[in-house]
Symmetry: C2
Subunit: 318 residues, 2 copies
């Protein structure tokens, strides 16, 4: 099969054997999304080598559960070992031995086929297009927030960032409260979010009120995000840390102690909720589809995904 | 009255007028404790100028509530405005206009007299000595932890630090669970904590297991504490940030997001619980009393409090 492979130094196209089932389902990849994590991987993040890509929609071609064959699916990315103490506690998502699709010890979606356990798969309702379905993993990550931190109608939420995660997280937040403000640096990208009826602030031009938010969602992917979040959140408020990045921040965390702020890390979320939100159009993702590239143009696609003005770039694999 | 005064540059003894009651109680200070915050203040922390000192025990000499007069008391340090939105929400401890005894907009305990609102005062039971009572504020800060984050008998807790806060916080933690380990750098100080039956680890000599704790209490007062806490806590575990300090840490918070760790800032706590723990000797503080200095020797006392091998240094004021 055709695959895009990162060997730890260079990324290039290769011919590779189709993944063996080994008790898992094999999926023919239709489309794959390019995430910042994929770009970070090509810079050495996670010390991964293999096929990157963890956002996808595809069709099951073989599976131990026959009813799945032929179904259009998306897939959760963590594959726990199932036997360690963490797994036995029911927290497989954090299994230290886990593999993660296209990120850790498991080939990903930038290839014609991938394999995943049946329990990771979720059939996609017919009224969600392929282009929309690829966003499921991202929407699920945003849905993790209100599942862990209850949001009321008057909860004041700031979303930091103007990329695809901020765009999606702000819509999920707006399903729970009237008070959502997205704060970013790109007037052009903010205008796309604003068209969905969400308030935005260009923080390069406008001042913002400090200590004014019950909750701040840090979706900048930048070391500047956390110190800004700390200034915006009220005492005893919550900062949800969604960003991951290379590089260190220089920071004094004393105000976190003094103002009794909670900083909660948050990562993957529930696919069922995400698919339901996509189906009901509670979350709209197509305004954030920057471009779809054919497999042959994968290098162009990666470059485009890395540009500051891009939201989401997809690869049409098969 | 005699007072120790910091003018923003130098600290020195002064004659000052006795505080006016203005609707508050006036307390004759018996003993005052020297806290790291006091030492930080003399280095410019909080941009405070005035009389430092916020840990004390004393006797009420005048009060709008007559029954308090003559009582031996300790006092909560935050004085909220009572009328702002934060106060109206019932969170006066975080009132942005608040004064804080010896820390912010209010003279403190390094003087013969201080004033505080009646509602801040707590009478001290007869079987708690003056030397013990001065620790109430510190014990209360430690009691805040189990009030906010329930501890079960099998909760695994690491306490980082080997100072007075770690010594007290580990005893409060040990009242809830069997699994408490104090991790510090001073073998001598750790040995004092160990005599109370609490396990200690000298991290300069011994390796520690990573991802092994449900909760980590960061009591080091050092930028090195938070990154160490992040390595020790299990995925989805809690780091309670007690430390405040000058200076910045260089740090990549991505593991907080990936491992969905919660970092919760925590500051002042309930005086009632603290006095009850001191009375029952659930928390023992006298092993951590390094020295008591007379008022005249306040400069020596401050120097002694700043030494790495000191736990708690007290000033006998009157």
């Amino acid at each position: 099969m055709r695959a895009i492979y990162f060997d730890g130094v260079r990324i290039q196209e290769r011919r590779m054997p189709k993944p063996r089932a080994g008790g898992e389902a094999v999926i023919k990849v239709g489309m794959a999304g390019i995430c910042s994590t994929d770009l970070e991987i090509t810079r050495g993040y996670m010390e991964f080598s293999g096929i990157p890509g963890h956002e996808f929609v595809g069709t099951v071609v073989s599976a131990p559960v026959k009813s799945l064959i032929g179904k259009r699916v998306v897939g959760e990315i963590n594959v726990p070992c199932g036997v360690c103490a963490t797994c036995k506690m029911g927290d497989g998502k954090h299994c230290p031995q886990r593999s993660v699709l296209g990120i850790q010890k498991r080939n990903g979606a930038f290839a014609e086929f991938l394999s995943l356990p049946v329990k990771n798969l979720h059939p996609v309702p017919a009224d969600i297009s392929d282009e929309e379905a690829v966003f499921t993993e991202l929407v699920a990550a945003a849905c993790e927030v209100p599942e862990r931190f209850p949001v009321k109608r008057n909860t004041r939420i700031a979303v930091l960032g103007d990329g695809r995660l901020a765009a999606v997280a702000s819509q999920v937040a707006a399903a729970g409260t009237k008070h959502v403000v997205v704060m970013g640096l790109s007037a052009r990208k903010l205008s796309v979010i604003e068209k969905l009826g969400i308030e935005t602030v260009d923080i390069s031009r406008q001042n913002v009120r400090e200590r004014d938010f019950d909750m701040v969602l840090e979706c900048t992917g930048s070391p500047a995000g956390l110190p800004l979040a700390e200034r915006l959140v009220r005492p005893r408020g919550i900062i949800v840390l969604k960003s991951t990045y290379h590089g260190r921040l220089r920071w004094n965390p004393s105000p976190i102690a003094v103002n009794e702020i909670t900083v909660a890390g948050s990562r993957c979320g529930p696919f069922e909720t995400a698919l339901s939100m996509l189906k009901k159009r509670t979350v709209r993702v197509l305004p954030f589809l920057t471009a779809v590239y054919p497999f042959d143009d994968w290098r162009k696609a990666l470059r485009r995904a890395g540009r500051r003005d891009s939201f989401k770039v997809l690869l049409k694999i098969t």
